[in-house]
Symmetry: C2
Subunit: 475 residues, 2 copies
Amino acid sequence: MTLIDDLTTLLGPAHVLTGGDMDRHARDWTGAYPGEPVAVVRPGDTAQVADCVTLAARHGVPVVPVSGNTGLVGGTYTKGGLMISLERMNRIRDLNPAARTATVEAGVILSALHDAAAAQGLYFPLWFGARGSAMIGGVLSTNAGGSNVLRYGSTRSLCLGLEVVLADGRVLNLMSALHKDNSGYALRDLFIGAEGTLGIITAAVMKLVPAPRAHATATLALGNLADATVLLNRLQEASGGLVEAFEFMPASYSRRLAQVRPDLGLPFGEVPEVTILTELGATSPALCETREDGSVPLTDLLETTVAGLMDEGLITDAIVAQSEAQRGAMWARREAAAEITFARRPFVDTDIAVPLDRAADFLTEIHKRLQAVEQAHEPMTVAHLGDGNLHFTAFPVDGSKATYDRVITMIEDVVATLGGSFSAEHGVGLSKRPSMARRKDGVALDVMRAVKAALDPAGVMNPGKVIPAKDSDAS
Amino acid sequence: MTLIDDLTTLLGPAHVLTGGDMDRHARDWTGAYPGEPVAVVRPGDTAQVADCVTLAARHGVPVVPVSGNTGLVGGTYTKGGLMISLERMNRIRDLNPAARTATVEAGVILSALHDAAAAQGLYFPLWFGARGSAMIGGVLSTNAGGSNVLRYGSTRSLCLGLEVVLADGRVLNLMSALHKDNSGYALRDLFIGAEGTLGIITAAVMKLVPAPRAHATATLALGNLADATVLLNRLQEASGGLVEAFEFMPASYSRRLAQVRPDLGLPFGEVPEVTILTELGATSPALCETREDGSVPLTDLLETTVAGLMDEGLITDAIVAQSEAQRGAMWARREAAAEITFARRPFVDTDIAVPLDRAADFLTEIHKRLQAVEQAHEPMTVAHLGDGNLHFTAFPVDGSKATYDRVITMIEDVVATLGGSFSAEHGVGLSKRPSMARRKDGVALDVMRAVKAALDPAGVMNPGKVIPAKDSDAS
């Protein structure tokens, strides 16, 4: 019996895809990683996932889990491996409004969980562009971030319980809904963000939060980025920690926005050095209930705070949204980021993190160093600044690998001097493995290798991802 | 050269303690674990910790880290091991008000960090009784909890960066101040809560938060515990997530309090089935600034919310503190818990967690089952109810091991049927290793064993703690 025969016996022919039927899974949406799996299987439950892993191991074939396939670092690429799609495991097993938890299978689409929570007046606070396709399994495997991390944390901090199929086909059951549990090592946190290299996540218990009943949104102009940390701290204090988003767009972003998407308009007459989009979210009636005159206390709170900070000279100009339409227009300018950035090629784009108060230092230094490499256009930045997370893109005049390596090395050098990370929220996958080899603490890499070897001694779980080979040349 | 000689050469005689000089470290404050280390050493920096580990390994002697030694599960017990005290590593290396981080060594006492943060208008939000002795190293190694977890999380969620000396004497440097970092496995989370069995934590970067400028505190009476989850959710919504404490004391607690500490008084004329102590904390001027009439908006918010819930019949009686003195009196009744519980012996006490909405089910069922074992007194409960964390104590008539085992098995049985944990915040150490063998998922135990063997192949790091032997008899 071939592996395909065995899998077909297990799952039925409809759930063992080969040839052209695999395209939807084998090619991720970046297009940069056209995979060649031996097959794509679609198990219907955890036991079938375990059986698929066991069968593949018996045939010496590695396995690569795939769910929504919206990752950015080639984490699901395989040549010769078996892709295990979690898409049929799409049940919300339980939603408990009293305990504020949702028990979900790995194939649940993020927006489906949003909808199910909303029906109970609750919110699953993980929000990013691919929410209509991304599935919980991939979200957990990459420890996904997004634009609400500032308030609610990354995926890891939203997960209470986890179910994982291990390399030996056994099922690790950590499916609890507990907020405190000190019974041994933090295994849950270890499998989250491991990108399928230690096991396949099949289900999870996720936290829900009360859905904000009001938002207040503003676009603010600052004279310089160093003031932004002060601004964030002041907004947090004034609101009592209600800041849900704190996004940064420099002058270069605004100018490019005006060129590519003139329909979106610019908020201020003169383009400021620093534009911040911030949003508060509240649940308390005292802040959310519309008054007889039509005003909302949360909006008043933001207006009063912003006015005070303008009097102090910290903010130079400001617009507070007075309607959902104005709020939408503010977000549209921010969400055009990918469109206005990647319209130009070649580019070198990164997803980096620095300590909260070092973003200005990063930009000052990298702009200085980039002068050594001729640029076709000025660099572009857009940032989840409240998390210290910058998406920085340079546009060198040539697209050679040598230039790419030179620029990425410059960026990573500056990040390293500031105590930052070359991967903030996108993970490592295939594309950032060279950065792991170059930049990650050598002892940390050895510890990761030891953990990987202990849990997957035959190296069958998503091989070649995350951890570089011991004597890798880091390029 | 003996190990003692080698250590004396390394550290000087003042920092190598033997004989009676070891008592302060070798005997923990519970008195239940009188250890017999070969020596207690007091290295002054990370390099010396690493050298101590290397020397001990060369002599085949295991190492046990100790900091404040305020743990409750015998985590620092050793017979024949080398105790490595972190007490001299007590520097706050850096405190950054802009980024809201503190870089601390493992020997920093928790209350020293509280004081340093307070001097900057900030708060390190981990609060429990032993804060004047407990040190950061132990706090991290046990993933300590306490009474602010509901709002700010356990220790693991307050840590950004970590430095660890490994079994082979190498130093793992994860000392970043990043809020997002997806560069590989969650090693930081793995070492936190590992109780020194995977490495010795020597330093950390911890998160700080704005210090609340106002608190509002209330003692509330409910007719039954099942309503408490509803109450907590309503308080969170009304306040926008400002609940910092939600503590539960049943009627049995109130009656015992009146007997043992009549000086503290009881809040209500008739003892209610359920007494809840809750506290809100706020930073926003709109909630914190005292008005001309002397009132504080946060207190008004709590009073209005409580009044509404009384009208609905959810709360049957209530007192909102009108002064710091009244607030202090409310907390004094809660903090008398250990005194009024452990005045009676023998006892069987536990630290368990259940899902947020299952505390009432736990108590109903355990009280029913305990009728099979004659009790000298009614059981006692006090709970961080907002975390689903109950400290439950039974008082059987005899103190035999057989009775202890019978009662603890009953409690663990009920906890297991509710999807709970036998250790919420105290950890495992030595005393809960039998519970690990009996109750923890077998696959999870095997994964922990694999991780332990990978990172400490010779078994020299705090041996005999946390993980039970493979063929342990679970008693």
